[in-house]
């Protein structure tokens, strides 16, 4: 049961007869008061009794399954009146605040047997699954004094995917990948480079790549003339890329208005998009003390889609990451030599100890890159030395930079590579490192 603003107003109107009749004596005053209260109660009761039932409604929804963070999406609520009375009132769709639903309530005028659509625009503000569990219908009586209200169970969910803002870096990296393809010379002909084809020499090709045997054979052919043939190479293909994202305690830290985990996801997505185009196969593991998300053996067409779906609900856990189990997890993903990317943080010897003890196991089998977000604020702290507090802050910042540098050096000694960058630069930096390793044939 609900009442509207007309009830207090009507009660106030009762002051007129009360003052008018109350002058005759106390009994008149009390009688008028009781009579007026009874009148109002009667009107409320009549209105509640004659209001159409808010329960005789069928709720349907029309909304997409998933949306990228930051993009608006249209969700439609369809209400069918299955009762006999005309429902007049208000309806509310209970989206969580982070779903960014606007509007979330509408005036309702629903004749019996008819259906109406109520459109809202969802602009989610956070990754993950944004839900609406209920739809509340308030049906007012003909006098608009009071009515009935019911909450209907109509669950809906929209999956908010990581934004993948770093995809703007993809075209330039793909162009560099194409440059690698069909190049005549690789500085280092590693074990992973593959012979591609023979073609005619053109001005500008490295003379060292001329295949004399093929040239000789070609000249022997009738009508071929004296043409020089060069060998072309293409980068290795069908390598395994395993991305391990650390979703533990340190991933919750917010750097430049983005958690480390979000940056890690951006980097992973850019690397995945690039590696998939380059013909490599990408697996993903989001890990703290257990598997938070895992993408394995996805075909190149769907790997990106599966990855964003898997990442969507993951939030950082306030746990210390268990690095000792990571080699086992990677072994479960691939038994071959792989390009393993660990997206974590290199900050402070305490939190990185587990990583350092496990790293040799990984570097002995795989090519390992550790990608870590640095905080530009810490770097800027070292320069702001206006007063005593600033100097101490600068000293602490220098100390933390030193620790990071030492950790990176230790990691390099163990045979892994390190990529550190501020949040917005980490995805392209990681992609560049991938391209460099690929060009060098070290995958």
């Amino acid at each position: 049961m609900v009442i509207t603003g007309r009830v207090p107003l009507l009660l106030l109107v009762g002051l007129v007869p009360l003052v008018g009749l109350g002058g005759f004596g106390p009994a008149w005053a009390v009688g008028t008061l009781l009579a007026w209260l009874a009148l109002v109660a009667l009107l409320i009761g009549t209105d509640v009794a004659t209001a159409a039932s808010p329960r005789r409604i069928r709720v349907e929804r029309d909304l997409p399954d998933a949306v990228r963070l930051g993009e608006p999406v249209r969700a439609t609520l369809l209400l069918t009146n299955a009762g006999r009375g005309r429902i007049h009132g208000i309806v509310r769709d209970a989206w969580t605040p982070s779903a960014g639903a606007a509007p979330s309530r509408w005036p309702l005028d629903l004749p019996p047997g008819e259906r109406r659509a109520f459109a809202t625009t969802l602009t989610p503000t956070r990754r993950g699954e944004r839900r609406s569990e209920q739809v509340t219908v308030r049906s007012l009586g003909p006098l608009r004094f009071a009515g009935r209200q019911a909450t209907l169970v109509a669950p809906a969910a929209v999956r908010v995917l990581p934004p993948f803002n770093s995809r703007r870096h993809l075209p330039s990296r793909l162009a560099r990948l194409r440059e690698l393809d069909g190049r005549t010379l690789l500085q280092v002909r590693g074990q992973g480079t593959e012979f591609d084809s023979l073609r005619e020499y053109v001005r500008g090709d490295d003379v060292r790549s001329i295949d004399w045997r093929a040239t000789a054979r070609n000249s022997a052919l009738p009508g071929a003339g004296r043409r020089l043939m060069v060998r072309t190479w293409r980068p290795e293909r069908d390598r395994r890329v395993v991305i391990v994202v650390d979703s533990g305690r340190t991933a919750a830290a917010r750097i430049a208005d983005e958690t480390r985990l979000d940056t890690a996801f951006e980097s992973s997505l850019l690397l995945t998009a690039l590696a998939t185009r380059a013909g490599d196969r990408v697996d993903l593991l989001v890990w703290d003390r257990r598997i938070r998300a895992r993408v394995h053996n996805a075909s190149s067409a769907e790997v990106l889609h599966r990855m964003v779906e898997a990442m969507a609900p993951v939030e950082p856990e306030l746990l210390e990451t268990d690095w000792t189990s990571v080699p086992g997890q990677i072994r479960a993903l691939t038994s071959q030599h792989a390009f393993v990317v660990l997206v974590t943080s290199l900050e402070g010897a305490g939190s990185a100890r587990g990583l350092l003890t496990t790293l040799p196991q990984l570097t002995s089998r795989h090519t390992v890159v550790i990608a870590s977000v640095t905080d530009p604020a810490v770097v800027s702290m070292t320069t702001d030395r206006r007063d005593r507090d600033g100097v101490y802050l600068a000293a602490a910042a220098e100390r933390s930079l030193l620790e990071t540098a030492r950790l990176a050096a230790a990691v390099r000694r163990m045979g892994a590579e390190v990529v550190t960058a501020p949040p917005e630069d980490l995805p392209p930096a990681l992609a560049d490192r991938y391209l460099a390793l690929k060009a060098a044939g070290r995958l």
């Binding site: 603003g5 009660l11 008061l33 509340t136 480390r260 005593r388 602490a396 630069d425």
Partner: protein, 403 residues
């Protein structure tokens, strides 16, 4: 038209709500009933009017009144001075609060041949029996009659539990009975003023329901009050204008004011219900943890500052400077401090000892020293950068972010 499948509701229907609330409602009713039963059997929590003729509480005087009525005395209750009839046989005045003024007592005195005053105050004593005075708390818990008054003669001794007032007589013709052990004051004083036989009972506590059955207390009261067939029990009303009571605000306001306030209250309540009713239940939002990344650095800075770890802070700053100077001067990353100092001195044309002191030896003794050292390091870095690369802009000291 085919029946449309309706969506189930989470809100309970009226029947479900009643069923759900049945048990709590039964419990509530049982509790209320038990509380009411307890209230009635315990005789009320409120003590009621002290020495009130209708008050059955320990502090009341209903027992006394009932016994008087059983003995055939007609008790009439009066609360206004003007209502006290002129032809009264016995008049009991219970004026514990001292409301009746001297003029009131003078008016009361001739109205009855026998005037019994309980709790007489200074004003009352001055009019009805000028020889009597207040004498404070009596000593001991019992008092024997010790006088010739027939009331006391017949009653025997009195129990003084809870009694805090007594009277004594200075000069004048009056009898004092039930004088306490130290001989200070008595409980019963009788005398005659302007032809009226005046009986003063110093403290009504002895005749309240709780104590009236002790010793001869009941007999004293009954003897004092039951001398005639009709008794007027006068208990002054503070609002009585004839004893100086004021007209209250309530008497002046119109009759509709209280209902009006009630109606306004009802309207406010309705407004609260109208605004307070939510359109459906609250939505729960699970919020993620937010950890600011610079907190650890700030915490360490405060730790340095609080413990006065100046040398440690200075060393951190120096290591940063040396790390940036080495590549600027074209030295390897692993160059020693001496090599860096020598190279910097060469580049700037300054004594090597001075730069070595700045980079290694100087020990800051105070915070001011530390700030000075920090400034010197910044200047050194800028000077070296300017000397080595005159065209380069003065870049902020910065560690390589990507390597």
């Amino acid at each position: 038209m085919t029946a449309v499948e309706i969506t189930p509701a989470a809100t309970p229907t009226l029947r479900q709500a009643v069923r759900r609330l049945r048990f709590p409602a039964i419990v509530a009713v049982v509790v209320v009933v038990l509380a009411l039963i307890g209230l009635f059997t315990a005789g009320g929590v409120n003590a009621g009017t002290p020495f009130g003729p209708d008050n059955p509480a320990p502090a009341g005087a209903q027992a006394l009144r009932s016994v008087l009525e059983q003995q055939g005395v007609a008790v009439t209750r009066v609360s206004r001075l003007a209502d006290v009839p002129a032809g009264t046989e016995t008049l009991l005045v219970d004026d514990a609060d001292g409301l009746v003024p001297a003029a009131g007592w003078r008016a009361l005195l001739p109205r009855a041949p026998r005037l019994v005053v309980v709790h007489p105050g200074v004003v009352a004593l001055g009019v009805v029996l000028p020889a009597a005075r207040e004498a404070g708390r009596p000593d001991g818990t019992t008092a024997s009659a010790g006088c010739s008054d027939p009331i006391a003669q017949r009653a025997g001794s009195m129990d003084l539990t809870g009694v805090s007032q007594s009277l004594r007589v200075i000069g004048g013709a009056a009898t004092t009975c039930y004088t306490d052990t130290s001989g200070g004051g008595g409980q019963l004083v009788s005398g005659t003023t302007q032809g009226t036989h005046v009986v003063l009972l110093a403290d009504g506590t002895a005749f309240e329901n709780a104590h009236v059955a002790e010793d001869g207390n009941a007999a004293v009261a009954l003897n004092a009050l039951g001398a005639h067939r009709r008794l007027v029990w006068y208990r002054p009303d503070p609002l009585d204008p004839s004893i100086g009571g004021r007209i209250t605000l309530q008497q002046l306001t119109p009759a509709w004011v209280t209902p009006l306030v009630l109606l306004l209250f009802a309207s406010g309540l309705a407004a609260a219900l109208w605004r307070g009713r939510r359109l459906g239940p609250l939505v729960v939002e699970r919020l993620p943890v937010i950890v600011r990344s610079r907190e650890t650095v700030e915490g360490r800075a405060r730790l340095y500052q609080r413990t006065g770890a100046r040398l440690r802070a200075a060393d951190a700053l120096r290591i940063g400077t040396i790390g940036r100077l080495a590549p600027t001067l074209g030295l390897s990353r692993l160059a020693t401090v001496d090599e860096v100092a020598t190279a910097a001195a060469g580049a700037l044309g300054r004594p090597r000892e001075e730069i070595r002191g700045l980079l290694l030896e100087a020990e800051p003794r105070s915070d001011a020293d530390l700030v000075r050292l920090s400034d010197d390091l910044v200047r050194l870095e800028a000077a070296v950068t300017a000397a080595v690369r005159p065209d380069a802009p003065r870049s902020a000291p910065q560690n390589g972010t990507s390597r």
